[in-house]
Every structure is written in structure tokens, then in C-alpha cells.
């Protein structure tokens, strides 16, 4: 079923998880994943009341589950969905520096998955994911205890981060400050 939650002013997270998780392999997996992302987008657009032509959106999919972050056209945004157990400490430490791991200390159960998904979401939000992931992105905890992802470029970019857990999966997103 598709569903959506409002994550910020005018920004909606569309989610799709099948009633029964089936994980096909190979090309069938890719087809299932893309269909899931499309259904998440439908849910996000419906909740936002935005027309697709007037919306900015970011998509993610994994294991038959889809995510779509939808907002007004001018916004930079990115989303990633991951099965929490899929991401190990080894994965997280491969893409983080120690201060980033420390910034995520308040989320022990989902810490590696949150690290991965936030960086993936931020990479997408830059519009050039291959250029920035993982080393040009820094997860920080700002004053006010907000999670941010900073892009090490000139001029620097800052994204606000957030996340939502649904069953086995974690949805993480970033948005550019208004």
C-alpha cells in the first residue's frame, strides 16, 4: 500500500511497501523496485496536491519498497530507503569519518543504516551523486540537535536531514533550507 507523511512545510514523503515482501533477483528485481518507486511517487504527489510538472521529487527503491520525496519545484531534495539490517557497521565506517559516526550517536539501532541513507539522499540532492558520494558529504549535528548533511564544495551547501522508520525499512531524506 502507498502512504505519505508530511516531513516539512510543503514537503511530503511518499512510501510504498508491499503487503508481503518478496525479493526477486536480477532484472525482475529492478522492475519491481521501479514499480514500487512509482507507487511511492503517486502517493507523495497525491498528498502534496502538486502536479507532477510543478513538483520536484527524488526517488529511491530497494527490495520491492519505494520512496519518493515530493516538494515544490525550486527545492533541492533527496531521499533514500534501505532495509535497516542490510547496512552493517563495516558499510557505515567505509563512508564516514569518526565525527560523523559520533553525530549519529542518538540512534543506536539504526545508526549504520541512517548514515548510509542520509549520505545517499544528500548525494542525490546535489544533482551529481557520483561526484559527491561519499567523501564530499559530511553528516553533522547542528545546534538545536538537528541532523544536517554538508556538501564540501564552493560555496558550501547545507541540507537538513530527517528520517522515518517503517517496519524493517528506514526512509531518510534531506532538503535544502528555504
Amino acid at each position: 500500500m502507498g502512504s505519505a507523511v508530511r516531513v516539512a512545510d510543503g514537503i511530503w514523503l511518499g512510501m510504498f511497501q508491499p503487503e508481503r515482501l518478496v525479493c526477486p533477483r536480477g532484472h525482475a528485481r529492478r522492475l519491481a523496485d521501479r514499480a514500487a518507486a512509482a507507487r511511492a511517487l503517486t502517493a507523495g504527489l497525491k498528498a502534496s496536491s502538486l502536479r507532477a510538472s510543478l513538483a520536484a521529487f527524488s526517488l529511491s527503491h530497494t527490495e520491492g519498497v519505494g520512496a519518493a520525496l515530493v516538494g515544490p519545484r525550486s527545492l533541492g531534495l533527496g531521499v533514500d530507503v534501505v532495509r535497516v539490517q542490510r547496512v552493517s557497521r563495516r558499510h557505515a565506517w567505509a563512508i564516514l569519518i569518526p565525527s560523523e559516526w559520533q553525530a549519529l550517536r542518538g540512534c543506536p539501532r539504526i545508526r549504520p543504516a541512517l548514515a548510509w541513507a542520509l549520505k545517499e539522499a544528500a548525494a542525490k540532492a546535489t544533482g551529481e551523486p557520483a561526484l559527491h558520494f561519499p567523501s564530499a558529504l559530511r553528516i553533522v549535528r547542528s545546534t538545536g540537535d538537528r541532523l544536517e548533511v554538508r556538501v564540501l564544495c564552493t560555496p558550501p551547501l547545507v541540507f537538513h536531514g530527517g528520517w522515518e522508520g517503517r517496519g524493517l525499512f528506514l526512509y531518510a531524506w534531506v532538503t535544502a533550507p528555504c
Binding site: P24, R25, G26, H27, A28, R29, R30, D33, T62, V82, R86, V87, R90, H91, A94, I95, W116, E120, A130, L131, F133, P134, S135
Partner: protein, 101 residues
């Protein structure tokens, strides 16, 4: 980490990479050919590529920074759709490059 001597012989690198790709993506090895597109045909995700890097680390007995794979893909697939451009053969090239460092 002990180094797998089979990777020293480059003629075996292709077969080793095929086996690693099949195991990481959980597909029959018969579906993994040199020209197989790992994203478009086998459904590989970004975290799967990190698992491939980890398997190469374990085989070579040395650390391979994740950024080195990212940089390699960027330089070798510039202007192309990664879903099509990342093939088994590209992973083999990366493995051979890492083995030679």
C-alpha cells in the same frame, strides 16, 4: 587478512570477479558475463557495489577506500548512464587495478 594468490594471476581475475558478482547479487553465475550490466540486468544497488569492494578487500588482503571505487566509476563512465555502463568487465578492470597497486 591473507591475500588470495589466485588474484595475482590476472587470467583468473575475470572468473573471480564473476563469482564475486554472482554471490553478492545472489544470481546464478551463468547470468554473469563480462558484458552483463550489473544495475540494468542484475538489479545491483549502490550498497551492493560496496559489498563488491569489501569482497575485493578480503581477497587482496588490503583496504580499498570506497571513494576509490567511486572515482574509478566516475572516470570510466563519464557521460554514460551508470545503469548501463557498470558491467562485470568494469569491476574486473577495477580489481586488476587494485591488485597492481
Amino acid at each position: 587478512m591473507p591475500r588470495d594468490p589466485s588474484l595475482v594471476d590476472r587470467s583468473d581475475t575475470g572468473e573471480l570477479v564473476r563469482r564475486i558478482v554472482a554471490e553478492v547479487l545472489m544470481v546464478p553465475i551463468e547470468k554473469v558475463c563480462p558484458e552483463t550490466k550489473l544495475v540494468a540486468e542484475l538489479g545491483a544497488e549502490s550498497i551492493d557495489f560496496l559489498d563488491l569492494v569489501f569482497r575485493l578487500e578480503d581477497t587482496l588482503g588490503k583496504r580499498i577506500p570506497a571513494s576509490r571505487w567511486s572515482e574509478f566509476v566516475r572516470e570510466r563512465t563519464a557521460g554514460q548512464d551508470p545503469a548501463i555502463a557498470i558491467t562485470t568487465d568494469l569491476v574486473r578492470e577495477f580489481a586488476e587495478r587494485e591488485a597492481s597497486l
